[in-house]
Assembly symmetry: C2
Homo-oligomer: 341 residues x 2
């Protein structure tokens, strides 16, 4: 492999065009005090030399990059993909560029401090503002616009986008109870996370509102992963008096329940009703399609982008907590309970 020569700088362009670097810079930035003919000839030279200005040099001096940064744990998880889709569209619409950073593969302990470092380093050099998805650090210190999507802590120093976790589960519970279910199992998310806590509260209050006593055996502690959900589901379905329905704290969790149902030859929804949370793309394609709580992940991304761009442009954003509402999507994984005659 050989590469073409590079390293064309603004000074090369200036020399070739017979003007000063100032004038070239003016042409690059579409300033208005340049004679049209001059601009034209400079542009021709730029084209001929294949010149592209260095983002590093530009941002070092002018402190504007027109780039929005995004920090996510990974770039391939379904949840992440949807968030990115929402962000991406809004950012592109406002003619900014999007630049994503994956923190995956890193030591979990070092992660928080690494993210903190990254935020500081990106802002003030390569990005004008940053969107963070599921931050691990409690606090970010930055002088630049920062917005968090689905933060794991309740209180943050910067605007955060969250969905109505409590109401989402609560609504799903009403639905299951209306179908006649009384023994409803719950598999939680990762206990430390705010979203997980709120969803559990939705479950508990859902039962209370219907006057159904809470049974500790029916609450299994998961962590949002499919693997852990499999263990939880085995546990719940091995009870002497097993649940007729399982409310899962995430779609991935629900798919774990699907797997266990299959291994025990339980049919969904005939023998077991299941409700998920997230409405990731896969949930519409499973067999049967999963009834789940849609948290408009895409919309969360869009809102995050909107806010960070407002902040970048110097407009204030009062509200620190921005809720995006959830909605129960009824598919085919639940059915009314048939009283044992």
């Amino acid at each position: 492999m050989r590469y073409l020569q590079s390293g064309v700088t603004i000074r090369d362009v200036a020399r070739e065009a017979g003007v000063s670097v100032s004038t070239v810079s003016r042409v690059l930035n579409d300033k208005d005090d340049v004679a049209p003919e001059t601009a034209q000839s400079v542009r021709r030279v730029i084209e001929a030399l294949g010149y592209a200005s260095s983002m590093a040099a530009r941002s070092l001096r002018s402190r504007v990059t027109n780039v929005v940064g995004l920090i996510v744990p990974d770039l391939w998880h379904p949840f992440t993909s949807l968030v990115i889709k929402g962000i991406s569209q809004e950012v592109a619409a406002q003619r900014y560029d999007l630049l994503a950073y994956a923190s995956a593969g890193r030591n979990v302990n070092a992660l928080a401090s690494w993210e903190q470092q990254l935020v500081a380093r990106l802002n003030g050099s390569v990005t004008d503002g940053i969107i963070v998805v599921t931050p691990n650090a409690a606090q970010y210190r930055t002088a630049f616009p920062l917005v968090a999507v689905d933060p794991h802590q309740a209180n943050t120093d910067f605007p955060a986008i969250i969905s109505t976790n409590y109401q989402g589960v609560n609504e799903a519970m009403s639905y299951l109870i209306a179908l006649g279910h009384r023994r409803i199992g719950f598999i939680t998310g990762r206990p430390a996370l705010q979203s997980s806590i709120r969803r559990l509260e939705g479950y508990i209050n859902g039962l209370a509102q219907a006057g159904i006593p809470e049974d500790p055996d029916l609450i299994a502690t998961g962590d949002y992963t499919r693997a852990r959900a499999v263990e939880c589901a085995r546990c719940l379905l091995s009870l002497a008096n097993p649940p007729t329905a399982i409310m899962a704290a995430s779609d991935e969790t629900a798919f774990g329940v699907y797997a266990v149902a299959a291994e025990r030859h339980l049919r969904i929804p005939e023998d077991l009703s299941v409700v998920g949370f997230d409405n990731i793309v896969e949930s519409a394609f499973t067999n049967p399609p999963l009834t789940t709580v849609d948290q408009s992940i895409e919309k969360m991304g869009g809102l995050a982008a909107e806010i960070v761009l407002k902040l970048i442009q110097g407009q204030p954003w009062e509200s620190r907590l921005n809720k995006v509402s959830t909605r129960l999507v009824i598919r085919q994984s639940c059915r009314p309970i048939v009283p044992v005659s």
Copy 2:
């Protein structure tokens, strides 16, 4: 919203620690000619001031960023997600950072020149090398490492990763023919693309090898999208003598066939066999699960990362075309043809 004060520079750290900026720089880069006590105290000051070095300034001078760039049309498409997963793991393993750029939302005509600009701008300022997925430009001019995944042109100036498109379809055809199918429809990809051409050849030669005459009616021209595939499938299934099986040039295309089958009350695989290409995540979750040609998208990403990192480190990479082999994944969307008694 108020933000913390920022703008801590290396000079602030130097002043506070009572050393020169050179020494601070040495500490930052783990150079060995610094007294341990000095390094210790500098590190304490860095911590106390919340200092983070500016990537822009660093890369401007040292021309090393430890960042691999990625340019993709979008960040949420299933194909993209899998490529990114492969890249991400390899890049993280070698302690580089990954930075993704989405070109979506941009005017299609301006896209190629925009990408060309972006490559030039990223390299030599924020990244050490770049991986491009499905480039639109015929040629990129860059002095830095560049690798293309699944390029749309056959010949490129830089290493490219492609899958064995021809063999993949060919193998699938053998499978369908072995099941007894004789009238096999084909829905192509976007005709201009190299991958599409090779897949079509796999279909045509598959028929020829079995001595089955080619029927132009059975070849419908798609473009890899689900929407277009729906029209193609309607066309094929409306023939006087319709196909008993359809080979689709992509999984998305296959899902278009699924949709048309449902609207016409045709059962898959009882009434119609379908084979896809890609093996995206969804294909395992459809009803029925799709038999498809796996092109190890993740592995393609991993290989791309491996090559670009080798190039960055100055090691040569001879081969310009790197093939990743395909593999037929048999699920439940095909069945043997039953002779009409």
